[in-house]
């Protein structure tokens, strides 16, 4: 005699899982990781490894000893946080210990203190990144010089990012749009190469992990807003193409603003969210104290995501 299981319908599942989504995001980050290693060499690889391992370790420790719940480190979300945190810092030897602190803040405060994946209002990697930016301003803005593929003298020189240089006066004359597109510029290690990021984003779009709404609204708003400013005064404002290719806009728009946990759910809400991110980024870049505003812009928009979810509802059937 068989004992039958009873449950409500449906009795089948799509096979979609949080784990699969998170590992797809990790796969999508690989091109940017490879470019970072190619430009910045060994430190980029080491910072990434330390960041990922410490994120996983902190999550495991917190789940085991504080929350006393089964471990979820295999779901890949700690790896996403670790990679994104590493991508948001300069690839220098100093970062090897600083990023551990960032990982503790990202996982401990940014994610687990709210109850773990899904409960966090802010993007954990950005929480960690902003904490480090405020706590270690010198180390966080000491950028290795990019002087071609596979450098060996990476300890020696430090340079400026295009945004930093522009904030101080003007863009270095030798930086071309092509450099910015490929990633041959200074900056945090994961955000330099627009093409590597777009490749990853294309993969996420194909796998339906993200939709186009947030990235397009974010980058589009930044482009239009900075374009208007540039048309008004080309000497005081950066040209719009350079604006979207430098700094964290590409990485932020494709990988961090699109974090499902902290972004709105309805398509209309996602457009509004992307618009807010783009607008705030350009405002902070031009009139704020920091040369870059992507992290702050996304965190501010994260904070109003519940409100956006309340305003922006999906279109109902026959309404």
């Amino acid at each position: 005699m068989n004992i039958l299981n009873i449950s409500g319908s449906p009795h089948v599942h799509s096979d979609e899982s949080t784990k699969k989504i998170m590992w797809r995001v990790n796969m999508a980050l690989i091109p940017a990781l490879l470019v970072a290693i190619a430009y910045f060499g060994l430190p980029a690889l080491l910072v990434s490894i330390v960041s990922v391992l410490s994120c996983m370790l902190f999550q495991w420790l917190i789940e085991k000893f504080i929350m006393k719940v089964p471990s979820t480190i295999c779901d890949g979300s700690a790896v996403v946080t670790g990679l994104l945190l590493a991508f948001n810092v300069p690839a220098t030897a100093d970062m090897l210990w600083i990023v551990v602190i960032g990982a503790l803040v990202a996982i401990g405060i940014g994610k687990m203190s709210f109850g773990g994946l899904g409960k966090n209002p802010f993007n954990p990697a950005l929480v960690g990144r902003v904490f480090l930016l405020i706590s270690f301003p010198v180390q966080m803005t000491t950028w290795p010089v990019v002087d071609g593929f596979f450098p060996t003298n990476f300890d020696l020189a430090t340079g400026a990012t295009p945004l930093g240089a522009f904030k101080e006066g003007a863009l270095p004359a030798d930086i071309t749009l092509w450099d910015a597109f490929l990633g041959h510029i200074g900056g945090s290690m994961g955000e330099v190469s627009a093409i590597a990021i777009l490749l990853g984003a294309a993969f996420l779009l194909w796998k339906k992990v993200i939709t186009w709404h947030i990235p397009v609204a974010f980058i589009g708003t930044a482009f239009l807003f900075s374009g208007i400013l540039w048309l008004v005064d080309p000497s005081a404002y950066m040209d719009p193409v350079m604006t979207i290719l430098t700094g964290g806009i590409m990485l932020g728009a494709c990988f961090m603003a699109t974090d499902m946990v902290t972004s709105p759910m309805a398509k209309s809400g996602q457009l509004l969210f992307g618009f807010g991110c783009g607008l705030l980024t350009i405002i902070i870049r031009n009139w704020g104290a920091y040369p870059e505003g992507v992290s702050f812009a996304i965190l501010i928009m994260n904070s109003i995501t519940p409100l956006i979810n309340r305003w922006c509802k999906p279109k109902r059937f026959a309404v």
């Binding site: 319908s9 759910m265 999906p314």
Partner: protein, 442 residues
């Protein structure tokens, strides 16, 4: 190709019993006929212990508005009028009949000849549907005489025949179309006449090309029957979605199809209508699929209503495989898990679907990651994740304000949830609470 616009998912189709021709299931020794086999109040038994009944004889009469007649599926002696637990463990009034021979009512035409002409007037057709106990066989078992009695001030413009069969595994409608296309078309013509509509549209999902080709050819001999191939997308066969796909019209929240001039009928029902009107045969049989990935064979049967699940299983496959985890009445998306295999089948049962232990288990639930997949999958444009939270916290009023009652329980949200949250269960609970709250206010 036509389809509904909003949401939807693509579950594995698993139409593995497609090629199994309809067989006739023999009659057992004893039959239990439930009096409540339809949406609405139970029928009132009109037989007593010791009465002799024939196949097709009225044994339960519809005495209230929302009710349908019940007929004896067998001939024999009434053992008792009592109650019986149905497949889901709910006790219902029932007539127990000891089967003796197979003697049919003389009025029923049992010849295989196809009778094409129908001279009845629309009102007479509806009256006969009521007499014969016809209900919708698509799942809701809505009494047909109520559906085809168009209320004052409303006008039917479209008759839509639901042959989408978008539920995985189910093949009974498919087999009916392949084997009884002409009878179905006659049934459709009768319904068309009852409603006075110019055209009837048969919606068939494009994963059934043979059915589309065959129906198109047969329908050519009939006036005003158009076959409409539909895209394969679940829930293409849900009433509001099917109307949207075929006509582009949308049934507003809380309204009925007739409010936008549509009447939807299931393909299986049209066959039952043909038999009732042309052959005087009441609804005493189901066409039913016996299927499952691990079963030794796949079947489609004509089964007398009242045959138990165990009898069907014993006859078709001997016994359930050792590894059976779940038996479902209906498809995998909206079917109900059977609690009691000794229960009799009732009108509208479309399958005995046997699921393996491994595939019958749900995955472990984790936190909602607010991915929005449930929202994108919802064919009604609702927010399942929100209902989940509201229902858990007892916020019934807000659940109602967010239109929880619009949910058609298609299961797309739970199906697509990466966190394995039982969204559909929570919404069902929420809907019940909202209904209870509204009833209490009245």
């Amino acid at each position: 190709m036509k389809t509904f616009k909003m949401g939807g998912v693509h579950p594995e189709e698993n139409k593995i019993s497609n090629d199994a021709a309809i067989e006739v299931m023999p009659v057992g020794k004893q039959m239990v006929v439930l009096m409540n086999q339809h949406l609405g109040a139970p029928a009132t038994p009109v037989v007593q212990k010791g009465d002799k009944v024939k196949v097709g004889q009225l044994i339960g009469e519809a005495q209230t508005f929302m009710c349908a007649n019940v007929h004896s599926p067998v001939s024999g002696t009434v053992l008792k009028v009592d109650s019986c637990k149905d497949a889901f463990g709910i006790s219902k009034p029932a007539v127990y009949i000891n089967v003796e021979g197979d003697e049919w009512m003389e009025s029923i035409d049992r010849t295989p000849d196809i009778k094409r002409e129908c001279t009845l007037e629309p009102k007479e057709i509806v009256a006969k549907l009521k007499e014969m106990g016809i209900v919708g066989l698509g799942g809701a078992t809505f009494p047909a005489h109520i559906k085809y009695n168009i209320p004052e001030g409303k006008k039917a413009e479209y008759l839509i025949i639901n042959a989408a069969e978008c539920e995985p595994y189910l093949t009974s409608d498919y087999r009916v179309m392949i084997e009884h296309a002409e009878e179905c078309c006659i049934g459709i013509s009768i319904l068309r006449k009852a409603l006075g509509v110019p055209n009837a549209y048969i919606g068939i999902e494009s994963n059934k090309p043979q059915a589309i080709a065959h129906m198109t050819e047969v329908a050519r001999q009939f006036e005003g029957i158009i076959v409409e191939p539909l895209k394969v997308k679940y829930p293409q066969g849900a009433e509001k979605q099917l109307i949207n796909a075929v006509t582009g019209r949308k049934v507003p929240s809380g309204k009925l199809p007739i409010d936008v001039g549509c009447v939807v009928s299931n393909m299986g029902t049209t066959f039952a209508v043909y038999e009732a009107i042309q052959k005087n045969k009441p609804l005493i049989e189901n066409i039913l699929t016996v299927t499952g990935k691990k079963l030794p064979s796949q079947h489609n049967y004509i089964v007398r209503i009242g045959t138990t699940y165990n009898e069907i299983i014993n006859h078709s496959i001997g016994h359930l495989p050792e590894t059976t985890g779940k038996v479902i009445s209906g498809g995998t998306m909206m079917g109900k898990a059977v609690v009691n295999l000794d229960a009799p089948t009732v009108k509208g049962n479309s399958s005995v679907l046997v699921m393996d232990e491994a595939e019958s288990r749900r995955g472990a639930e984790s936190n909602c990651i607010r991915c929005g997949k449930c929202m994108n999958a919802c064919p009604m444009g609702l927010e399942p994740y929100l209902f989940s939270a509201l229902v858990k916290n007892g916020r019934t009023e807000e659940a109602k304000a967010h239109n929880i009652l619009d949910c058609i329980e298609c299961g797309c949200c739970f199906f697509s949830c990466p966190a394995n949250k039982p969204l559909t269960d929570e919404i069902r609970l929420g809907k019940n609470r909202v209904r209870a709250m509204m009833a209490a206010k009245k």
